[in-house]
Structures are given as C-alpha cells and as structure tokens.
C-alpha cells in the first residue's frame, strides 16, 4: 500500500503547489496578504473579484480538464493496447468540434456552444460504437480503425466549415479548436467527474492490469473482457467529452502524461489512473498559468505551452529509460 501512497502523495503535493502558484500569479500582481484575505472572503472587492471570480475557477477548471484528459488517455491506451492512442484518437474531439462550430456559426451563446459540443462528442461516440460492432467479431484493432476514419471525416467537415464561415467568426472558431481555458465556465462538473473516476479506478484497476497484458490472458483469468472494454470506451468518451466541452480540444496532455507516468512508476493501473489525474491536472495548471502571464496582457493558447513543457520532459524520460 505504501507503494501507492508515496508517489500519489508526492503528486498531490505538486498539484497543490501548482494550484497555489496559479492563484498567486496573474497578469495583475497582488501581494500575498491580499490574496489570503480574498480567499477568506475578506479584503477589497477588486482583489476578491480577481481571485474568487477569475483566477480560482479557471485554475480549478484547468486542473480538472488536465486530469480528465490524462485519465482518458490512459484508459484509451489500455483499451486499444496501442501506445499512440490518446483521448481524441477515436474522433471524439472532432465530433465535439463540429458541434461547437455549428453552434458558433448559428451565432448561439456560450452555453449552447458547450452543449452542442457535448452532443457532438456523444454522436461521435455512438457512431464509432455502432460501426465498430459491424457484422463480425469485435477487436480493438477494428475499433481503432473505425475511430481513426471517423476522426478523419470530422476533420474534413471542420475544414469545410472553416472555409465557408464568415471572416468575422473565424478567430473565435480557431481559438476554440486550439483549446482555451478562458472560456471555461464553472469548474465543478469536470472536478466531480474526475473524483468519481479516481474512486472507481482502484477497484477496477486489477482487471485493467490484466487486460493491459492482452484479451486472451484476461479472459483466461476470468475477466469479462468484452463488457470491460465497452465500459472503458464509454468511460474514456465521457471524460473526454466533459474536458472538450469545458475547454475545447487541448492536445498533448492525454497522450503524453500516461506514458510519462508509466516510465516513472511502472504499469499498475491502480496507481497510474489516479496519478494521471494529479499529474495531468498539474501540467495543464502550470501551462495555463504560463499562458496567462508570459506575454500578458496578450494570452497564449494553452496547448502551445503544454507541448513546450511536455515534449522535452517526455523525451528526457524516454531517453533515460532502459
């Protein structure tokens, strides 16, 4: 058990440090005493607005989205037994993007854009789910191929929509596609979902560990493979849909964080899944803080920073590993 608690404790501490950092830093510099007063609901109205209405909700949303994406990526990698799998590989972000862009083209408000992104993600999930069943047997390879082709289809639709959309809506649409936390609303739904998944990961982790070694072995050991795989697919889809709905399609986190943690901690899903939630959240939180302050008052797209931070770290870990 200590083998679980020590790394998770360290990751939790770094997540907490990142949260403190992201609340303390902004394009406006506030002294620590004002920040503390604002957190306690005291102090002047301006610093309360800055901390409680702007920074804290955005930081929590960043953490939740990063965590969801990393966990979804880890689940997809177990499901497809393919190291290149990420939360978007099966076309889910494409479906969500088409939904969101359609709402933007129709000139709908932000709530409807999010709602329509969620519907798009669900449609894509069900489409891939239905098609991958097909007539014959079901294999992860078949699911992967179906998903990748559906994703390519969504990509074409997105390009078409961008090409015919009015020029004045283009920047908003492009920023949505890049992923951006400045549009995130309330952080609670993604946070609650993240907590639920982490709690479920521990009892299900053993079965996932067995599955990661191959479907045959898992079946031989009494795991109901098919049901587990569909469960994995739906869970990963729900997590990704929530993340994409909150902050657009932020890339990279879902692909690299699970690999990074496997290199560091080994491949025990009971440990990897909660660790992904913490490390993914921390990475996105740090990246978003940098995106807010690096060239303030201009703001950078957070996906740029996640990649800039993550690529060298990952390459170093990979190079060092045996």
């Amino acid at each position: 058990m200590t083998a679980l608690i020590r790394p998770l404790g360290a990751l939790a501490l770094s997540a907490l440090a990142a949260l403190v950092l992201s609340v303390a830093l902004g394009s406006v510099t506030l002294p620590p005493d004002k920040i503390l007063a604002a957190l306690g609901g005291q102090g002047e109205a301006l610093s309360r607005t800055l901390i409680l209405e702007l920074r804290l909700p955005r930081s929590l949303a960043a953490f939740a989205v990063g965590g969801l994406l990393a966990v979804a990526g880890a689940l997809m990698q177990v499901l497809l037994r393919n190291p290149l799998a990420d939360p978007y590989v099966l076309g889910l972000s494409g479906g969500a993007s088409v939904g969101a862009l359609m709402a933007m083209l129709a000139g709908l408000g932000s709530v409807l854009v999010s709602g329509s992104a969620f519907v798009g993600a669900l449609v894509s999930t069900l489409l891939v789910f239905g098609l991958a069943h097909g007539r014959g047997g079901w294999t992860p390879a078949r699911l992967l191929l179906t998903g990748v082709v559906v994703a390519a289809g969504w990509g074409a639709v997105i390009t078409l929509m961008l090409a015919v959309s009015p020029a004045d809506r283009l920047p908003g649409m492009l920023y949505w596609l890049m992923g951006d936390l400045s549009y995130a609303g309330t952080p609670w739904p993604p946070l609650v979902l993240l907590a639920i998944v982490c709690l479920l990961a521990v009892p299900l982790g053993r079965n996932l560990n067995v599955l990661a070694r191959g479907a045959m072995q898992a079946a031989a050991l009494g795991v109901s493979v098919r049901r587990l795989e569909w469960g994995l697919y739906l869970a990963a889809s729900a997590l990704t849909a929530m993340a994409v709905t909150t902050a657009g399609s932020i890339g990279f986190v879902g692909l690299v964080v699970p690999h990074m943690l496997r290199l560091l901690l080994g491949n025990d899903q009971r440990l990897i899944l909660p660790a992904c939630a913490l490390a993914g959240g921390t990475l996105l939180l740090l990246a978003d803080t940098l995106a807010r302050i690096m060239i303030a008052p201009e703001q950078l797209p957070v996906g740029v920073i996640t990649a800039l931070l993550g690529v060298p770290t990952f390459l170093y870990l990979l190079y060092r590993s045996q």
């Binding site: 902004g26 394009s27 406006v28 301006l46 607005t49 800055l50 209405e53 702007l54 920074r55 408000g109 932000s110 009015p166 020029a167 004045d168 809506r169 920047p171 908003g172 920023y175 951006d180 400045s182 549009y183 609303g185 807010r292 303030a296 008052p297 201009e298 703001q299």
Partner: protein, 302 residues
C-alpha cells in the same frame, strides 16, 4: 432648539441633494444589439475592446476617459499610450477588471461572448457596437457621447461625418457607373459584397461592385472569377499602409481593363476598413480614384 437644528440640517440635505442630483443623472443609450444600457452616472472610465471602438470613443470626445484598449488600437496616436488588455479575441480579464472601468465598449462579433458575459456577470455594463452603415457610425458616436456626457463634441463630429458623406452622395449621385473589384486580402483572395460598409462606399461613389451580389459579406472569389468579371478598376488595401504588392500582382494580366488603363489604385486600409469617422476620408479617396478611372475612359477613347 433641536427642532430648528434638525430643520436646518434637513434644508442643508435637500440643498446638497439638489446640487448633487444633476451630476449623478442617469444616462441611457441603446446599443447595436438593441439593448438599452443605463448608467447611474455618465461614464468616467471607459474600456474599448476593439480598435474601432477606441476610435469611436475618441471621436465622441471621450478620449480622456479611456482607461483600457486592445492590441492594434493605434488611432488616434494618444490611444497608443493607454493600457492594453490583450487582443480583441482573447481578453486579459484580470487586467481589465483591475483598471476599474465603469463602461465597457464591446464588439458584437469580434469579442469572445463568454468573456463579455463574464464581465456583465461581474457587474460591468457592456455597450455593444458594430456599425454596419454610415448612419450607424454617426449614431454610435452620438450614443457614446451620451453615455460619456460629451454630447456637444459627439454631435459635432457625428454631424461633420453625416454632412460629409451626404455631400459625397450628392456629388456622385449622377456619376457614370464604374465596375470595381475591391481586394480585402490576397491569399486567399477576399472581397466584400454590397451589404458591407466598404460596398456601401463603392456605391456612394458611383462604383459597381463586380462581386456585390454574392451572398457572403466577405466572399472569397477565385482569381479566374476576377479575370472573368473584368473590372474597370481594382482598389486594394494591402498589408501595411503603403504596400502596393497586391496591385502589382494584377499587372501580369494586361488583358484586364483595369490593367490596360492603369486603374490599379491603392487605398490605405485603415481609412476604409474601420467603421469610424476616418471612413469619410477613405470614401473621398475612393470617389477620387473612381473619378480618375472615368477620366481615363475619355483619354483612351473607349
């Protein structure tokens, strides 16, 4: 004794209130999304969230009250000194809120709606503008002047703009039509249709937009379509205020009427692409260019 004192106090209070009342008079104006925005007192600290909005607020005589602008707010030159709160597509809300504006001028289709909704949720009044006609420009100036309590200056500037445009309209009402292609961008090739403000300027000067009937506000025609339309004059902005590269590109097609008659005209984009009082100057330039194209007809005998 106590009664007298309290009565004195009361009179004093009433006097105070009657003096204070006009200064804190409520001001109201309807914005371009048809919402009425009311301020308890005229705005003292204005945040303008597009370069065009900044120009309009300065034009309304409220330049001194501008406390926040966005990137590329380069006119009038004083606006460059005002604190920036990011780009119009991605606002730094922290910095904006810290500047404590009491009125935010938003851009209907340019600013992210999520961020403006957030500002409104924080209690900041947002006045949306997006002029789509000449009257929209002068109207926006007047309405901004009401909110900033600078009505005299606002009405003067709006009146000048209105009269100037009316004078141009009168002067070119009978002018012979000139078929024009206006180039907004080169790769991809972009133009405007008749509904666009620039399309309205073309019509004002007696120009006929060869792509005016296309359904999209900013259509993207192919080069072939331009050659087939064979405009008599090509007007272009360009990257920067003096770059003629886009026009030189057309010179490779001598069969184009516009090229044969050397009717390739440059118009500084900042004078024509922003819905602000400078549009009057841009429109005058447009009309002069088209007039020159008419003169060249006679000279070439065609």
């Amino acid at each position: 004794m106590t009664i007298r004192i309290s009565r004195l106090l009361l009179t004093g209070l009433v006097l105070l209130l009657s003096v204070a009342a006009p200064a804190s008079a409520e001001v109201c104006a309807v914005d371009d999304t048809d919402r009425e925005v009311c301020l308890a007192a005229p705005a003292q600290r204005i945040a303008a969230l597009s370069p065009g909005a900044t120009e309009l607020v300065y034009a309304a005589g409220a330049g001194e009250k501008v406390v926040a602008v966005v990137a590329y707010s380069d006119y009038p030159p004083e606006a460059r000194e005002v604190a920036s709160v990011g780009s119009h597509t991605r606002l730094d809300l922290e910095r904006l809120v810290t500047l404590r504006p009491d009125l935010v001028i938003g851009w209907v289709t340019g600013n992210p709606p999520e961020q403006l909704e957030r500002l409104e949720a924080l209690g900041l009044p947002v006045f949306y503008i997006e002029p789509r006609s000449f009257e929209g420009v002068s109207g926006a100036i007047e309405r901004l002047a009401i909110l900033a309590d600078t009505e005299a200056e606002g009405e003067r500037v709006a009146g000048e703009f209105r009269d100037g445009m009316a004078a141009l309209a009168a002067r070119y009402a009978e002018a012979a039509p000139v078929r024009v292609f206006y180039q907004v961008w080169d790769e991809p090739l972009m133009t405007i249709n008749d509904d666009h403000l620039i399309g309205q300027v073309l019509r004002l000067c007696g120009g006929v937009n060869v792509f005016g009937a296309l359904p999209r506000l900013v259509p993207r025609p192919g080069e072939e379509a331009v050659l087939a339309a064979d405009p008599e004059a090509i007007l272009a902005g360009g990257m920067g205020e003096e770059n003629r590269d886009w026009l030189d590109h057309w010179a490779q097609y001598p069969q184009l009427t516009a090229v044969a008659r050397d009717n390739l005209f440059f118009v500084p984009p900042s004078l024509i692409q922003r819905p602000t009082p400078r549009l009057l100057e841009g429109s005058r330039l447009f009309c002069e260019k088209l007039e020159r194209a008419r003169e060249r007809r006679g000279a070439l005998g065609s």
